[in-house]
Amino acid sequence: MKVIKIDKKDWADGLAKLSGGYRLFGPVKDKEFHNFKELDNGELPDFDFSNTKLSAKSMVFPQAEAMFKYSLDENEADHHIMKEAEKDYSPRAAIGIRPCDAAAFLLVKKNFDTPEYKDPYWINAYEASVFVGLACNNPCSTCFCTSAGCGPFHEDGLDVLLADAGDYFLAKVITDKGEKLLQAAGWNTEADAGEDQIETLKKEAEAKITASVNTDGLKDKITTELYDAPFWEDVAFACLNCGTCTYVCPTCWCFDIQDETHGTSGIRMKTWDSCMYPLFTLHGSGHNPRGTKVHRVRQRFMHKLKYYVDKYGDGIQCVGCGRCIRLCPVNIDIRKVCELMNSYEPADAACQVA
């Protein structure tokens, strides 16, 4: 595969050229931490970060997004009729998305883009996007991507993989979309032995990953036994049900639909929701099938580590970015929960309880 060398002095110029044809998104420092957001005109992505606080999912799946608009003004001919909200699906490019966040889109795609159901908002935004990934030379202690089907130089879900090699970036072309973007930026010098250089950096980065999860046993566990496992009360005890884990997660896809009306005009929106919230499952009758926090915490882990595994057969619904571990206010750690689930034998529990 072709590897382009981008001298860092040509970086800003290239991005300026790109901004003519693409809406650019990237990591930007906001007070104490980095956020992934649309870049202002002339703003450069800041690559001095380990990862953004929230994942990059908002580029395709914003926290709040208009679906329809309507008018309640009976003088208008089409009052009380839902009309599609205007959308901008012109080409957009993520500059410096981490490989884990890009790989996460592929997991989420299984939910939003199926033969039976298609979410046009997600699909249109995703298809308008080009993903230029920034490989992780220095993963954090909470990164367990290499055991979650991903990695610091993982290429699935990316169009270009950038590796920081000091004075220059190595840009590995992964798709045609990526190639087109590099050409539009005027970056076209092929690197000498580019693939080898990237391979060396990749090996160094992977060697720095210290955290891991075992997932080999999950598939063969009996769902109801895992569901009834005695450890859930202990796992869930500290949980505040704040939903931070789900908001920062690149693979959490649940949403709510909300209307807001002001005067006689209104919009119908898709907004992030979370299985951590009692409201998420509250029925109109007042009954709540996930009425306690133990139910809700179990749901999150069972979904990611069991239901998804069984439904799609391609591993866990997690890319190992470690955000939920770093940002949980009470230190609930998915690595520990995964280990409990992966190694669970009902017979052990019977002995323990006795």
Partner: protein, 49 residues
């Protein structure tokens, strides 16, 4: 919170003090009118993607 002090008034008015009630309402109305509209806390259509 960023609301001018003059916008908020507290008063004791007994149900028997109709005249005082009128005075207070007039005073408050004039005072708030003099300050002009307060736009900060007006909710508009949310800016969403």
């Amino acid at each position: 919170m960023g609301i001018e002090p003059g916008r908020l008034h507290f008063s004791w008015v007994s149900s028997a003090e109709a005249t005082k009630f009128i005075e207070v309402v007039n005073e408050v109305t004039e005072a708030v009118r003099a300050l002009g509209p307060h736009d900060n806390f007006v909710k508009h259509m949310p800016k969403v993607a």
